[in-house]
């Protein structure tokens, strides 16, 4: 490497002669990736630094009475939700990508809709309908004297609700994988004498495994970080224990220490996901499966319709209907001119945040393409770990250093200019957007990175041979080819930011209340019915990018 640079320096016409991409030319890409990882690691480091002030008695108490149960709870939850989202996501993806049945075109995009619905809303509605006091049990009890139904407020209930809320991550990514390579996989399997079922399990599924793992990872990270749903189910996980240590035991340090353990959990998961991701090497885009869909028999088609319809109903239609009913009750009193401001702030922040997430995720994924290797891979992993972090812990972890920097700036300003303000950086959108970036880089990175992996090196080289430089390669080849992935990333980030609460609450400037802030205001006092209006507004705003996402699906050429 160094001898190249040495020679390069001596070459008089170095401007014309450049070394190729395949050799380290400059470490700009690596530096960029490291900078992003460092940004993400700021809250992590702030969190880990809590070990400097160990609160022995609180930690001892937690270890004795709380930790054993919540480790078990968290593991069960990971296992259950992992299984749940995989089964739902993969089976639905297979049905809509590979099979033909009535309503398939509708389900194809409608099954993504639960993404727009915060999981805690699904949870609240599910408990409202299925608990002892809910209409179903009440009816069974009063009309038929049937009691003893399984308790919804249970481990199984949490797993069910989380699976229904998060399966679209797996569905979205697995569907793309099946659509591009499922038909080929199946044909290859059938040509080797396997039945369709065997072909699915022995060829198509293993081929799609890296993509499924990527979606699974997003779902599990969100599960680990979830607070709202767990609080509604009163199910103790690491995240609820973190909040308990902070809010109830008044120990941010103990909370941070628990968060550190949580990060270790995530790192273990990352290692597993990385293993499967390494198989996701440059696979070429196959030909469209559209012409070769499996025609299901009438009975099977009806079953497929019922299955997809039930999932859609339970995960989206019923909760949204409930929201609509509640909204109808409160809309006259609550809907005022301010709602337009809330909605505008939400859309604006989510839009800017998504744009930022997509740009940085693209550069980060691109860095990996330019400078592949173990160091880069781990840098990328670290840079996307913010998604598994409980939002409020991350918000504080970011706020503390920003406030410290601000204090320095203010003191400097006061000493030199007689400045008498109280905020420089904090209270600006910049801090907010940075926090969103740290939190949601993973949702942007996943689709873009796998999209980039599907572009073969030969395509790059073909473009270079045709006289295109690095910039042209990006603008004329990669960006257009990544359009679908970029849209997916933007839509996921947009929807997630719309739903996000703790970061928005902590870092928003004065007057920047959003729909999610409204939801918080209402739910924190238990006024679920009144929270329906902003929740419904979030869902509606979130549906737009999802429809865009599917619209491009119908028009994609890849």
């Amino acid at each position: 490497m160094s001898d190249h640079t040495a020679v390069l320096a001596k070459t008089p016409s170095a401007g014309v002669f450049v070394l190729p991409d395949t050799r380290p030319r400059f470490s700009g890409w690596m530096l960029f990736a490291l900078a992003i990882a460092a940004l993400v690691l700021v809250p992590v480091v702030v969190t880990f630094s809590s070990f400097a002030q160990v609160e022995g008695d609180i930690l001892a108490h937690l270890t004795e009475f709380v930790l054993p149960e919540l480790v078990g709870n968290t593991l069960w939850l990971m296992l259950g939700v992992g299984l749940g989202v995989s089964v739902l996501g993969v089976s639905l993806a297979w049905l809509t990508a590979m099979c033909e049945f009535p309503g398939r075109r509708l389900f194809d995009w409608a099954l993504l809709l639960p993404l727009a619905l915060p999981a805690y809303v699904t949870a609240f509605v599910a408990i409202g309908l299925l608990d002892f006091t809910g209409p179903l049990q009440t009816w069974l009890r009063e009309s038929w004297a049937i009691t003893g139904l399984p308790e919804i407020r249970s481990r199984g209930g949490v797993i069910l609700v989380m699976s229904l809320a998060l399966y679209p991550y797996v569905y979205l990514i697995a569907r793309n994988a099946f659509a591009t390579q499922g038909a080929i996989a199946l044909e290859a399997a059938q040509s080797l004498g396997l039945s369709r079922t065997q072909g699915f399990f022995r060829v198509a599924l293993p081929m799609a495994r890296p993509w499924i793992a990527a979606g699974l990872m997003l779902a599990l990270m969100e599960t680990l970080a979830d607070f709202g749903t767990m609080a509604i189910f009163n199910y103790d996980t690491f995240t609820t224990a973190i909040y308990k240590a902070w809010y109830s035991l008044f120990s941010l340090a103990a909370a941070a220490q628990l968060a550190s353990i949580l990060i270790l959990f995530v790192l273990v998961a990352v290692v597993f996901e990385q293993r499967s991701r390494t198989q996701m090497r440059y696979s070429t885009v196959g030909r469209s499966a559209a012409s070769r869909r499996i025609k299901l028999s009438p009975a099977l088609a009806a079953l497929a319709f019922l299955y997809a319809g039930t999932v859609l109903a339970v995960a989206f239609l019923i909760p949204v209907t409930q929201l609509a009913v509640w909204t109808r009750d409160v809309i006259a009193a609550d809907l005022d001119a301010r709602y337009w401001a809330f909605a505008w702030h939400s859309v604006l922040l989510a839009g800017m945040g998504a744009l930022m997430v997509v740009m940085v995720a693209l550069l980060l994924a691109y860095a990996g393409r330019q400078r592949p290797g173990a160091a880069m891979m781990w840098t990328q992993r670290l840079a996307t770990i913010g998604y598994a972090f409980p939002g409020a812990v991350l918000a504080v972890g970011l706020f503390i250093p920003v406030a410290a920097l601000d204090n320095w700036l203010i003191d400097t300003g006061r000493a030199w200019f007689g400045f008498d303000g109280t905020e420089v950086l904090k209270g600006t959108l910049l801090v907010m957007l940075l926090a969103y970036l740290v939190r949601f880089l993973a949702v942007g990175f996943g689709p873009i990175d796998s999209g980039l992996h599907r572009i073969t090196r030969n395509v790059d080289e073909a473009a270079r041979n045709l006289g295109t430089g690095a910039a042209g390669l990006l603008t004329r080849v990669h960006l257009p080819m990544l359009r679908a992935s970029l849209l997916s990333a933007a839509a996921l980030a947009f929807v997630d930011i719309m739903k996000e609460m703790p970061i928005t609450l902590m870092t928003r400037p004065f007057g920047w209340d959003t729909l999610a802030v409204r939801v918080f205001e209402m739910t924190s006092e238990g006024e679920w019915e009144r929270a329906a209006l902003p929740s419904l507004a979030i869902v509606i705003a979130g549906i737009i990018p999802i429809i865009l996402l599917t619209w491009r699906g119908a028009h994609s050429h890849g």
């Binding site: 014309v16 070394l19 190729p20 073969t456 395509v459 073909a462 045709l466 257009p480 050429h557």
Partner: protein, 355 residues
């Protein structure tokens, strides 16, 4: 269009020598071919020429301009070298016309359109301008890739296993078409393949590569008939080696008789020493060197046979137990185990000294 010269080029990666001391000259407007088994370094050679791999020794010149030497190389996008990839690497987001026009920059729109139309006409896809790559068959995609590479009038076209994704019939037809197109554009082209039929039907010059080295750079005819070593003899065409004893510098005796002709022998580091009387050699017998003659007293047993339509390829067991191949018109249908009469029809002798 330009002449391509590789002069003692070598390249290694992670301490493994990929190509070693590679030298050849491909004249302007000629079609060359690097032929060899997989892993012989031919694709790496192509990537060195296209500007995606650096070289450690020697230099590469295109049209007299040095494009690679140890320590630096002209960037791929500045080389004006077109490439056709094994998987075609078409841009899936662009229509056929836009794929072909991708490399045409700094030209007027009209000039671009004209060039695109000209090329699509040339490759026989004039009616597919507005289609997307995934709507085309494999053969059509291949031709789009060729048209795309040709469009900016590169100094040199490189093709990496261009037909390997196609079925056999299409492969043969297309290779003739491609040769035709390249010749009409008068393009210098270098093709990499492991298929000798492809090499022979396309190329004016063929280099047989093995273990990172060019074993022989020659015309297809010479490669077949005058292989310089056992590897080339074995890799190119069919044939068998039978033992022989040199009688003098123009005669060698094998069990089927005495062959007349110049006796070339293998060279080694110490130079080429002529074989002296009674030294032992292996003589290469091509299937067309042995002909079937019912009247011949020389008999060989049919050990195996392969029907080729017009001919049978018989594997024969000679009296000594050595094997030889013979191409026989297919109306001579003999059973396995049968003994048939043969005779030698050797034009020139190819012999390698026994180790």
């Amino acid at each position: 269009m330009a002449e391509l010269i590789l002069d003692s080029v070598s390249q290694s990666y992670a301490n493994r020598q990929i190509i070693a001391d590679l030298s050849f000259t491909l004249p302007e407007a000629a079609i060359g071919c690097l032929l060899g088994p997989s892993g012989c370094g031919k694709t790496t050679a192509l990537r060195c020429i296209s500007g995606f791999e650096p070289i450690q020794t020697g230099e590469i010149r295109i049209g007299g301009e040095v494009v690679s030497r140890p320590g630096w190389m002209l960037a791929a996008e500045k080389r004006r070298v077109g490439m056709v990839f094994q998987d075609y690497a078409l841009f899936p987001h662009l229509r056929v016309a836009d794929n072909v026009g991708f490399g045409l920059r700094g030209e007027t729109k009209a000039a671009r359109q004209a060039r695109i139309a000209e090329l699509l006409e040339l490759v026989g896809l004039a009616g597919h301008t507005h289609q997307f790559p995934h709507q085309l068959s494999g053969g059509q995609q291949q031709r789009v890739a060729l048209a795309r590479a040709l469009a900016p009038r590169p100094r040199l076209i490189l093709m990496d296993e261009p037909f390997s994704n196609l079925d056999v019939e299409l492969r043969e037809r297309l290779s003739i078409e491609v040769r035709d197109i390249l010749k009409r554009e008068a393009t210098t082209a270098l093709i990499v393949t492991h298929d000798q039929h492809e090499a022979f039907s396309l190329a004016d010059w063929v280099g047989v590569m093995h273990e990172g080295r060019i074993q022989q750079w020659d015309t297809p005819y010479n490669l077949y008939h005058e292989p310089v070593n056992r590897f080339v003899a074995d890799f190119v065409g069919q044939g068998a080696l039978v033992t022989g004893e040199v009688i003098n510098d123009h005669q060698v005796e094998i069990e089927l008789g005495v062959l007349n002709g110049h006796i070339p022998v293998e060279c080694d580091a110490s130079g080429c020493d002529e074989c002296v009387r009674s030294c032992h050699v292996d003589v290469l017998l091509r299937p067309d060197d042995i002909i079937h003659d019912d009247d011949s007293l020389l008999l060989a047993e049919v050990e195996n046979k392969a029907f080729r339509g017009a001919e049978f390829l018989y594997t024969l067991k000679l009296p000594s137990g050595q094997r030889a191949l013979s191409l026989v018109p297919s109306h001579h249908n003999h059973a396995i185990g049968e003994k048939i009469g043969i005779k030698l029809a050797v034009d020139h002798v190819v012999a390698f000294r026994r180790e």
